[in-house]
Amino acid sequence: MVVLALLGLSLATGQYSILSHADGWEMFRNVRVPRTLALVLAGAAMSMSGLVMQLITQNRFVEPTTTGTTEWAGLGLLAVMVVFPRASVLGRMAGAVTAAFLGTMVFFLLLRRVSLRSSLLVPIIGMMLGAVVSAVSTFVALQTDMLQSLGVWFQGSFTSVYRGQYEVLWIVVAVVAAIFYYADHLTAVGLGEDVATNIGVDYRRTVLIGTGLVAVATGTVTVVVGSLPFLGLIVPNLVSMRRGDDLRSNLPWVCLVGIALVTACDLLARTIIAPFEIPVAVVLGLVGAAVFIALIIRQTRRG
């Protein structure tokens, strides 16, 4: 219900008065509806990606922004833009998805080869990896004079989402469906390689599929919206704090909470300095950072 109310509010909020203008309905269809749909899709996709990655790595602090996946997607995007300046949205997306997949695999490889003494080290390493990747992106962008557009890309915002721009996001629906389908397998993977193998789950294949799904979701969202920092981190943690760790029954909740959070942040971003708007990533970054810190403190208190 809360989610529906928020979505309704999102449909109703804006500078262009729908009711008093003749073309209000058209405006509504072309801008408001796509935007709200994009919020739903991106919110659900990113929070589920976070959940899947946390299961695969068995670490609560992992999500696309803390493993460098987003940075890799950005690098892929940039590479496509440099090599084929006229590439379509789909072409750019393919680049972003491929890079995101490769990058995430590099990170997992790293985790497998490296024995970590503290679960808090995982995000530290991930963020350093992200720093390396974004140094490469920055270098390429600097050489090709695309630094500012790179910044604009990375800044997650739903401003540029309107009819004709967002449709690619529907791919995410397939990802979400696939995650629902694989939910039990992924839960098994979350118990560790030995347990998963014992109960008859092909560990490597499931990890590969999970990573692929996360890469597709992250790549798509990065191309259309930009990065949504910490979303995949906060939502699954909040949900599993309340409900435990059963993936299948948590999934709908993760989706809903993710959608609600993104929508709330977007509403905030749109209204604070109306008639202008702040990118939603700023709001999300600040909120997310606060929640993240709270989580870290909680974790360390428990020991």
Partner: protein, 379 residues
Amino acid sequence: MTSHAYAVPGAPTTTAPEATGAPPAAGATAGLSPHPPAGPAGRSGAARRSGAFATPAARRRWWLTYLAVTGLAVCFAVGLLVWKNPMPPGTRGFWLIAERRLDAIVAMIVVAVCQALATVAFQTATSNRIITPSIMGFESLYRAIQTATIFFFGATGLTATRTAPMFALRLALMVGLSLLLYSWLLTGGTRNLYSMLLIGIVIGSGLGSVTTFMQRLLTPSEFDLLSARLFGSIANADSDYYPIAIPLVVVCAAALLAYSRRLNVLALGRDTATTLGLNHTRATIGVLVLVSVLMATSTALVGPMTFLGFLVATLSYQLSGTYDHRYLFPMATSLGLLVLTGAYFIMRHVFYAQGVVSIIIELVGGSVFLAVVLRKGRL
């Protein structure tokens, strides 16, 4: 508690190789990388007890490597000073140009000392040779400050704030932030170093999103001005800053060097160090405070250089072959200087692309980071 028994020659003493190799004006700053083991304690002690090196040959190798690295660094530094100097040597114009270039060399020395000492000490304090202190929010804060300046005061504001008081303010802000974090480590319910680190990073990324937002509202020309400032570059250093930066660095470096025996104990791990009579938490905090001042100075002076320290420290472990910080510190410092002067010399005179030096150092450092992590398979 052997550390008090010996008079550690930590105070910067001008030493032979650098004083002879460097031009006279650099003599004052050459003392920034002292040779602590020159004291009597190090040499006579080696005869009786197990010293820093397993064999005399290893010690000899260390000295040879050290002298080679330092010599090469000095060569590049001199090269930067005099190469392609349009005026005939010895004339007044020649010295004027050399003097201007000397400012850059001084900045390199300061940065090398800061990054090298801070990274080595930080890695010891965290007993982890993978993480570097520069990811802990300093850079985000630097970027945020620079962006906010141009955002609120425009391009003229950015030029107008290139004064020593503003530098001091930047420095104070950065040190303040890290001290806030450390005091939380000291007094809070948790004593976990990693959680503190992670909080630093997260605060940094929160700042980062505000910064990106402000950058987005800049006009492209303002953004160009800003982006030149956002990358670490020796050109960002202004000789007006030196009166603040150099004493600070000298004091902190001396303190760290004086601390190096305690760092050796710290490296043994918390339990062993406590058994040996070291207050682990207090020693760690002390080191971290020094590290944060050094890192803040370097960042405020030239901008962010994420992987320079990492690169230098890793190379230093490889080349030194010892655990002893009295040897690691000078080696890392010389290596840092070598990397900086060498990169600038080659980029300026071979590739004519000095604008991107720091980015290339970052790329090399970043790749070394990945290689080390993957090859070692252990943290």
